[in-house]
């Protein structure tokens, strides 16, 4: 075997391994970006209760109403505020730009109502209001997702009322 063939085989293997892991890293980020691109940045998006016409996110739960925020905390932190329903599953989960769920809190774990959460870039300092949960995002961009369980159809007005009161404010780093 000539040295050139050995070099070609090595180059083939090295580039294959690199491409293999780049592909695995890129696909989740691409799918997350696709999701984020259809949402306004640092603003509340109130979704309807999922049905067969809901084609934005795979495996939507028809028993939940979703509210989401496509966040970008690179230049400023955001303050998310929402009332918490009584005796009903309600959670806030945050996903970094590679789809990992790095934070979740539900109604039973929340200590103050309304719930306030300040989302900041990792390593940045903020002056958070009292009773505010401060969460550091490992990536500048991602999605904050609220899940509100619809225990029965006649609860939809209550669910929508809470959804309407959810808000996002852009704050400042110290």
């Amino acid at each position: 075997m000539t040295p050139f063939i050995i070099i070609a085989i090595i180059l083939f293997l090295v580039s294959a391994v690199i491409a293999h892991f780049i592909t695995l890293a890129v696909i989740p980020r691409q799918l997350m970006k696709k999701l984020m691109d259809r949402l306004p940045v640092n603003a509340i998006r109130r979704e309807r209760r999922p049905d067969a016409n809901s084609r934005g996110v795979v495996q939507p739960s028809p028993d939940l109403v979703y509210t989401n925020v496509n966040y970008d905390v690179s230049k400023a932190p955001i303050l998310f505020t929402s009332p918490v329903p009584a005796n009903c599953y309600w959670s806030v989960s945050i996903f970094q730009d590679n789809t990992d769920n790095f934070f979740v809190i539900n109604d039973r774990q929340i200590r103050s109502n309304p719930f306030q959460l300040m989302l900041v870039k990792r390593g940045k300092k903020v002056d958070a209001p009292e009773n505010t949960v401060v969460v550091q995002s490992p990536t500048n961009k991602g999605i904050l997702l609220v899940r509100h369980l619809v225990t029965s159809d006649d609860k939809m007005d209550e669910v929508k009322a809470i959804q309407r009161q959810a808000a996002v404010e852009i704050k400042q780093y110290r």
Partner: protein, 189 residues
């Protein structure tokens, strides 16, 4: 000649890398899953500790899934006998109330979206199933219309069932592969 060899290697290498990644993620993420009767779940889904193959699988089939401390998601593509779920058959989903704060079983097409139907009925959950005197529930999944608790397949041949367990109890968290989960029983055509 050497230059051509190098160019071919640098062209085919990335193609091979991409191709093996696409082929490998399904197999490797399936191997990382636990099975429980017809149900399977990847307990690392959503977590920052997830392997890159499972991360791709979750991004494609269940993006924005919660980590398992909050919710465990089981999926089923087969029945209790190990046969592929088939729209030509009638299935009875039967079981005792799972140990979770809240649970649901949702019917999806193979595209992972809800199946359109005239009843706008896509799932049963702990609040809208009926329990018998032994605390067990049941409902049907089929193309042929049925009275009572029924999820319509609307002419779909293949489908997926997803069991969501929000705030799962200790019996599930400690033994997710063995705890009794709802049964998927084929009852004929």
């Amino acid at each position: 000649m050497p230059v051509i060899l190098v160019m071919i290697a640098l062209l085919l290498g990335p193609i091979a890398g991409y191709w093996t990644a696409i082929k490998a993620y399904k197999r490797i993420s399936a191997r990382a899953s636990i099975g429980n009767g017809p149900w399977y779940a990847n307990l690392a889904a959503g977590s920052e500790k997830v392997d890159p193959y499972t991360r791709v699988s979750v991004a494609k089939n269940g993006i924005l899934a919660l980590r398992q401390s909050e919710t465990i998601y089981y999926s089923a593509r087969k029945d209790d006998q190990g046969n592929w779920l088939n729209g030509d058959k009638v299935y009875r989903i039967e079981g005792k109330k799972p140990d979770a704060r809240w649970w649901s079983i949702t019917l999806y097409g193979t595209d992972h979206f809800l199946i359109p139907n005239e009843l706008n009925r896509y799932s049963y959950n702990m609040n809208n199933v009926e329990y018998d005197e032994n605390g067990r529930f049941s409902f049907y999944v089929s193309n042929t219309p049925r009275e009572g608790a029924w999820l319509p397949l609307n002419n779909n041949k293949r489908f997926v069932l997803t069991l969501r367990l929000y705030n799962p109890g200790d019996s599930i968290r400690n033994n997710p592969a063995k705890v009794e989960l709802p049964h998927i029983i084929a009852e004929g055509e």
